[in-house]
């Protein structure tokens, strides 16, 4: 059913990179919820998105993973773009 019987499990040698990505994701998430200003939250959200993209790529090395990581990154960027544009009143304002 799933792809997981075709691809190898992550080997034990690259674990430190995965841990660094996880720790940075948690740190940036805590910075997101403790920041008061609504626009200054968006750079920290971008750090969360980078770290999760790294986690996705490091968890499952398979050629389709590149498309998954790029799709997640572009989707998250588009979401931030839409939030910032609406906050600035770029698109919808009469």
């Amino acid at each position: 059913m799933a792809l997981e019987d075709q691809v190898p499990v992550v080997a034990g040698v690259h674990m430190i990179a995965l841990y660094i990505c996880a720790v940075i994701a948690v740190y940036a998430a805590l910075r997101v919820i403790t920041e008061r200003n609504s626009m200054r939250k968006l750079p920290f959200l971008n750090v969360v998105s980078f770290a999760v993209t790294g986690i996705i790529a490091l968890l499952l090395p398979h050629p389709l993973t590149i498309a998954a990581a790029a799709a997640y990154f572009v989707g998250s960027t588009l979401e931030s773009n839409a939030i910032a544009s609406t906050w600035a009143g770029g698109l919808k304002r009469p």
Partner: protein, 169 residues
């Protein structure tokens, strides 16, 4: 091969210089590309930072630029070798077109980062996963630690670039 933490730190330095040089050459700190980037820059300036640094932070947030290209090139080389990196460059170009951006900085950064990562892996000194963790650390120093100090640093680098290349107004 060196130990893994030292390799990750060296890879973080390489990635930092790669995306910062390409972003400065393609004039990201000059103006905000979309209206959301301009709003982020104004809020950063209101919090005590510089306006040019805020423009670059807003551009990184609201469209995939050279930093995203470096990260996805690392992912591509880690998963599928050299063709994976070039495929990631194509995906970065498509993502730039989705986000209303010309997309030259992201594609150029992705292609150069692909060759850098592939050369470093072929030389036997690095693994491709070091560059993914290194890019996450590098984007943490720009966006994640302190927006005031990061914007002042980018404004200082932008002033140096204006003095060297004089393409900016």
């Amino acid at each position: 091969m060196l130990d893994e933490p030292i390799r990750i730190l060296i890879a973080a330095l390489i990635c930092w210089f790669n995306f910062m040089i390409i972003d400065l050459i393609f004039k990201l700190p000059e103006r905000g590309g979309v209206s959301g980037a301009t709003a982020i820059a104004q809020e950063v300036e209101k919090g005590g930072g510089k306006l040019n640094g805020g423009y670059m932070m807003g551009n990184i947030v609201s469209s995939p630029d050279a930093s995203a290209g470096t990260l996805l090139a690392g992912c591509g080389v880690y998963c599928a070798g050299l063709p994976g990196g070039l495929f990631a460059a194509l995906l970065v170009y498509i993502g730039n077109r989705i986000c209303y951006d010309p997309g030259y900085a992201g594609t150029t950064g992705c292609i150069t980062a692909t060759f850098i990562v592939y050369g470093a892996v072929q030389s036997g000194w690095f693994a491709a996963s070091d560059f993914i963790a290194g890019m996450v650390i590098a984007i943490l120093t720009i966006q994640g630690l302190s927006s005031v100090h990061a914007s002042r640093l980018i404004a200082w680098l932008w002033k140096i670039r204006c003095r060297l290349l004089r393409g900016c107004t």
